[in-house]
């Protein structure tokens, strides 16, 4: 099957999915107790403000009409404005998203640097103490509540040792050095969980490829073991790991919610949490919608990578 056909098919499935995502997110509003206009107005009990919101969101119209009007605005990139700051939500999204993407990229780098080598060593030394230790570490990375790990690392590296700042964020354009010191701990915290997943998948993929015929052939031709592991086994094991990486990247974007909260990083997650506490529902809806959109696109990207990396799929219809 040609790549474009594959992508077109996947996109065709995405349209109904995204339609239902938008319905679900719109329906959140219906969960608000009592009069939605009053709830949306937040702390402003001014009847004029409530009336303005009722008019703006057409809350006096039937629900399907409200949905249609809401979707129409969203499709034009109009997510409304923050009730708190009166800033258009679109601008808020544009300023916060890059911070979270930087955090997710750094976390992914840390996860790859820990997870893949640990997975390789663990597979090569299967059944040894090294393997058991790597497995235990991976399981710990998967089980530890990240926000708590963040608090503990702040306690150690910021409060006790004073090596790194406890919280805050500086953009790379202002001061790259300080940017890296502020992003290091949160990236490590977020990266540990993904490192655990990466390690486990690398290990099982490597165990499969190490047992494959072409590896046995390579060994029988007395190819050096190092080359067998890194060239023959790892290269083939990487296919599922690349796909996993794209999916995990999507999950990092959401995992950032609590980490950003702990380290006071003004990113996407903090925007969501602040939106929740300020009862700024337009912001909450927009963040959820954009997260879902990004997640869907990353999954599509993962599928395309998998398709490209796996020649057998291209042969099938």
């Amino acid at each position: 099957m040609a790549l474009w056909l594959y992508v077109a098919r996947r996109l065709a499935v995405l349209v109904p999915t995204l339609f239902f995502v938008s319905v679900l997110i719109f329906s959140l509003q219906q969960l608000l107790p009592g009069d939605a206009a009053v709830a949306l107005a937040g702390e402003e009990n001014d009847p004029a403000a409530v009336a303005a919101i009722r008019a703006r969101y057409h809350l006096d119209r039937p629900i399907p009409v409200q949905y249609g009007l809401w979707l129409g605005r969203v499709l034009q990139g109009d997510f409304g404005e923050s009730l708190r700051s009166r800033i258009p939500v679109r601008e808020l999204l544009a300023s916060k998203l890059p911070v979270t993407i930087e955090l997710a990229l750094c976390s992914m780098a840390i996860a790859l640097l820990i997870g893949i080598p640990a997975g390789i060593v663990s597979a090569v030394r299967k059944g040894t103490v090294v393997d058991a230790a790597a497995n235990l570490l991976a399981l710990s990375g998967l089980s530890v509540p990240h926000f708590w790990l963040g608090i503990m690392l702040i306690l150690l590296f910021a409060v006790r040792l004073g090596w790194l700042p406890a919280s805050g964020y500086v953009t790379p354009w202002e001061d790259l050095g300080r940017n890296l010191t502020t992003i290091l701990l949160p990236s490590f915290v977020l990266g540990t969980g993904v490192a655990g997943v990466m390690m486990r998948h690398t290990r099982s993929a490597m165990l499969q490829t190490l047992g494959a015929d072409y590896v046995r052939t390579a060994r029988s031709k007395s190819v050096p073991e190092r080359l067998v592991v890194l060239k023959h086994a790892l290269r083939n094991a990487l296919i599922p790991i690349i796909t996993l990486g794209a999916i995990e990247f999507g999950r990092l974007l959401s995992g950032a919610v609590l980490t950003e909260q702990v380290f006071a990083i003004p990113g996407f997650g903090k925007l969501l949490v602040d939106g929740v506490f300020n009862r700024d529902y337009a912001v909450v809806q927009a963040v959820v919608l954009v997260s879902a959109g990004l997640y869907v696109l990353l999954n599509l990207g993962a599928d395309i990578l998998y398709f490209l990396a796996n020649p057998r799929l291209r042969g099938s219809t």
């Binding site: 959140l28 998967l142 608090i151 997640y295």
Partner: protein, 292 residues
């Protein structure tokens, strides 16, 4: 939580097979230790009133942020409450938050997954499109958004987590049903004239259980972390009732003065989640034919 659930054709669960799986599980020391740890947590939660040395909500302004001592083995918090007592009582919130959302998810997903997988057609199409939509919003974000719109509180947090966990279960049950539907014994039952309802409930449902068990153990762990996360954000358990997540929320403000407030609740969450994950791995090894 795992984004891609384990979907496999379950073997026919005869009674003998079930014993075999239990024996397989018993032969794994790590899984047995994990099971003992989980049961230990359950006992602690049940016996919290007897075990706790103090009332978990009793404020004592003479003992604010006291370091661990003989009177308060794990110290006191910002209003002089005993950390140990709050930890023991907090186990209740955490375990409930692990069990109830998963019960909600299983109770809703089994009928939906059975309908979707067994009936097929437009019913399947509709259920799966909505399910895909729910799956495409990350788990914690669904839980936070739902909890935000429902309003803060442990009950609403549990409902939110249950709904957030639902789509993974629906996809798992449907996938398993699709795999089992073509098995010979199902075709035989249909050929013998069993009603659709009987085939679904007597022949298909029992065989989805192994996959479901594995997913339950993983999801209970994820739900406990999710409750702790929501409570940490202030969307779950409300003060003064104790929960490990809300204890961490308070602890964050006194990190340099009272680090013990942050240490122990996190260790408890880590302990129970690790035990559940090890148990989940053991169950998968014992029940999933691909791992045997």
């Amino acid at each position: 939580m795992s984004a891609t659930p384990v979907v496999f054709a379950a073997p026919a669960v005869a009674v003998g097979r079930r014993y075999k799986a239990a024996r397989q599980l018993a032969r794994r020391p790590a899984a047995m230790i994990a099971l003992a740890v989980v049961l230990g947590f359950v006992l602690v939660a049940l016996a919290a009133p007897q075990l706790a040395p103090f009332d978990p909500t009793a404020i004592d302004y003479r003992a604010i942020r006291k370091a661990p001592s003989a009177a308060h083995p794990l110290g006191t918090d910002e209003v002089g409450r005993d950390v140990l007592s709050r930890l023991l009582w907090g186990a209740r919130a955490s375990l409930l938050a692990g069990v109830i959302p998963v019960t909600i998810a299983v109770a809703l997903s089994v009928p939906l997954g059975l309908l979707s997988g067994y009936l097929g057609g437009w019913v399947d199409g509709l259920i799966m499109r909505i399910n895909d939509a729910m799956l495409s919003i990350p788990f914690l974000i669904v839980a936070i958004a739902l909890a935000a719109f429902l309003g803060p509180g442990l009950g609403n947090a549990m409902i939110a987590i249950g709904i957030a966990a639902l789509p993974t279960f629906v996809r798992l049950v449907r996938g398993t049903v699709l795999a089992i539907k073509t098995e010979e014994y199902v075709e035989a039952a249909q050929a013998l004239g069993c009603s659709r309802r009987r085939v679904a409930l007597r022949h298909i449902l029992p065989n989805t259980l192994p996959a479901l068990f594995i997913q339950v153990s993983i999801t209970v762990a994820a739900a406990i972390i999710a409750e702790a996360s929501l409570s940490f954000l202030g969307l779950g358990q409300q003060p003064p009732a104790p929960s490990w997540g809300s204890m961490l929320n308070a602890a964050q403000r006194y990190l340099s003065q009272a680090p013990w407030m942050a240490l122990y609740p996190g260790l408890m969450i880590f302990g129970i989640v690790m035990a559940l994950n090890v148990l989940g791995d053991g169950l998968r090894d014992a029940l999933d034919p691909r791992y045997q």
